[in-house]
Symmetry: C2
Subunit: 547 residues, 2 copies
Amino acid sequence: MDKRLTKDELVFLPLGGAGEIGMNLNCYGFGPPEERRWIIVDCGVMFGRESATPGVDVIMPDARFLVENRQDVIAIVLTHGHEDHLGAVAHVWPDLRCPVYATPFTARLLQDKIVEAGLEDALRVRIVPLGGKLRLAPFELEFITITHSIPEPNALVIRTPLGNIVHTGDWKLDPDPLVGEPTDDRALRKLGEEGVLAMICDSTNALVLGHSGSEAEVERALNGLIKGLSGRVLVTCFASNVARLQSIAHAARDSGREVVLVGRSMHRIVRAAQDTGYLRDFPRVLDEEDATQLHADNVLYLCTGSQGEARAALSRIAEGNNPNIQLSEGDSVIFSSRIIPGNEREIFELQNKLAALGVAVLTERDHFVHVSGHPGREELAEMYRWVRPRIAVPVHGEMRHMMEHARLTSELQVPQTAMVVNGQMLRLAPGRAEIIDEAPSGRVHLDGRLLVNEDEGYARSRRALGKAGFIGITLVLKKSGRLAAEPVLHMEGIPDAVLGPVATAVTRAVEARRGGDLNEQVRLAARRAAQDVWGKKPIVRVEMVEV
Amino acid sequence: MDKRLTKDELVFLPLGGAGEIGMNLNCYGFGPPEERRWIIVDCGVMFGRESATPGVDVIMPDARFLVENRQDVIAIVLTHGHEDHLGAVAHVWPDLRCPVYATPFTARLLQDKIVEAGLEDALRVRIVPLGGKLRLAPFELEFITITHSIPEPNALVIRTPLGNIVHTGDWKLDPDPLVGEPTDDRALRKLGEEGVLAMICDSTNALVLGHSGSEAEVERALNGLIKGLSGRVLVTCFASNVARLQSIAHAARDSGREVVLVGRSMHRIVRAAQDTGYLRDFPRVLDEEDATQLHADNVLYLCTGSQGEARAALSRIAEGNNPNIQLSEGDSVIFSSRIIPGNEREIFELQNKLAALGVAVLTERDHFVHVSGHPGREELAEMYRWVRPRIAVPVHGEMRHMMEHARLTSELQVPQTAMVVNGQMLRLAPGRAEIIDEAPSGRVHLDGRLLVNEDEGYARSRRALGKAGFIGITLVLKKSGRLAAEPVLHMEGIPDAVLGPVATAVTRAVEARRGGDLNEQVRLAARRAAQDVWGKKPIVRVEMVEV
């Protein structure tokens, strides 16, 4: 056996998140090719979109490569508690059954999902303290406190015999994050001195100039803004942004308003934060019903639904479907959030409903009510100056973000920048970083309650149904092959005017059967007839039954 | 008969565009209620979205009210040539058969659509010169030159015995529009002195502070930007922005690049502009094939597809499907356009494909390459100071834009602001403006080549198909009511795992028939079985046939 093939290699394999924002799944492997051992960093979901994947709410990475190698998977390690980093654990873990490590708040959020999935007896999350270390031979891990838009974000240092890796996770440089500690830049500088082989880094805001800004600035701005408002005030934001919840609650207190939490995830996150030692001075919260007694000037609703989600609390309020909360002229709704690209129409439709009630809608477009949790270009540059990796690997971004990130690292004179997308195995050492292999990768849809591979095409065929509808044709045939009854047509999503011509075409095709595949002859005749009248080609299926 | 009921009234009735941006259809009526005569201002379309109206590319207003009153419809008058102002004329006109008036460039664009619809012998557009007047008793119209993002935008003055109306159309205040004259503010001020009862005004950018900026500034910026680029340069913008096309062509000339037009509508608009006296010094354009001979530094592609439209030229180039145009590392694509809300994902996917090729993507986010065609708040304020209407009527906006526009007019102390949405008939005079009636209104889908009313629900049922798929069941029964064959199932968009349980449930339901509606019993059984396995309820239809 060739000795070179058996020597140790250090590889990075993203199975999610490299080429998209969402469903992060990062794998680090060490060992000779036949005996690589793996740690998984993060295991998240992304959300489906009706236009692309109708009927699919949740999408996760295809983890089949890990399942096939499960005896070599050492652990899942989570950097922080956002859905796109932990949402797939409860789905993927049953096929891996490896230890899962997380810091306390992240573990607490994951616990809810574990219980939901009925896995609480099988999976016990192992808790790592902030700044803690883990020995997962051949890897040694160190958690380094950074800042983001959720408590307890961590960068991971992954030490291996072939060099050190910094996996940043999601981060920004917030000098005053309000909840938790600021970024441990001393540890990062020290790492830079120790020597870092590769940094695998967040690209989300590589297109954004400057600095993301601080939660403390938003706190001050919200405080001033809310003090100046009369009438009911409703603030919507991402529930997981605990610092923001605290800022809003303080603004309520400072302007003589009681806080009412609205929406399941608001309650869930506040509970999780308090369980793990955060939000110690969060004011007493009222429930919706008690708050109906308060004067409009004395209430502040802290509410889910900033992305216009139809089933979330704010959409229900805007539609007048919350019996305890009615908004009207003189009231204000603050969107203390950004628009996640793709959600524009839903958010604007929500804002239109609020506007129609006479409610003032305040957003980051016109007021300083939000800062991003991801690093702008100045912050990226600062991080690279601290860590000084030999190899930069942009992840957590679409191609346009990752390419811009790569342009920046090349300006910053990082010796090598390596681009990888999901499924590409990048050898980080020994030698120059290069792609050496491909692993199966893709997307798995949570379709209803079934997990189905995107390749199975159900969402795709539903998308086709959405465009041109469906015609199902049943031919009831006698043994002789003649029709025993008129063909039966099932049409859905197709204008009535199409029915007659299709029925005629089907009958004719049966009558004119030329031997060969009757099913296909009928299918094509129906499709052609639909197109002649309608200009569109529906999906047509023909079933035959003999009586 | 009550005399008050029969006296003349002046009314405004929007049938499209009030409560949405797109498909403008404005009606002005004059006379006693039973004998009102109408002029129609603009008759446009909007574009469908896959998530909301799958399979529908074009949506237009339901004009049934006008068709029912067609003997009283005097004319259709067009303010300018954008699709959302003229795109429905060829669809609606055959039911109205009234004269259509437009200025030369708008008429020229409409002519293409008339020919496409095979109406060239029936409909001859009547051309009004810029600044022209029309006597359409009881109305008198005057066209006032304004500025927008297309040649020949006009505000209309509609004079009636009960007062003057200013219908702004789409506008901005561009001191140097490059193509055409600047806004005729003298005429607007004069009108203000003459006295204006009501102004019906563009709300699109009522949320935008400040001023929209000038095409001349974009010209200078593009010129500098393009001079600094090497490699192939591709610029995409709205083809109808003729001034922009000219700016880009001049930038090409000034940086030693030949201009290549790519995409059908680029050719169409340049031809229309030149036919009507614009773009006189537009450089000679090359065709795609000849341009393959040029050095990369000597070519500039002016290209359709800035909104990420899958079938437009730029998407095809990004996918490598244009044999004459291959982009790669070192080339640049400039999006000299804005993102129309709702198109984000398509545009970003396009930009991701370009980024993956190594192409630099320059947008209005990072470079000054676009100005809006609609008035920011400063421009709105200026217009109200000139025209001084007694009544402000915000149109051309979603509710959030119209409400903000209304807040502004109330700050500006316009005596009355009246809010109307599609289908509400607003009496402008005599007396205080108020809503006095409702007219049927709604949306008509161009579904394939059929016009179908939104209420008919085909797009809605296709959307439901997209979410949960379809099951069609054929029961072949003997005269006795017993099954003559196994039930036939047509399933589409539904995971295979659902088939078995549904088939079993159907057979059982037939066997267990309890009298009553077998069809409904089978339908519910199938739906329930699907939900049990899948967690989703597909559309289920049952057809029975006797043999």
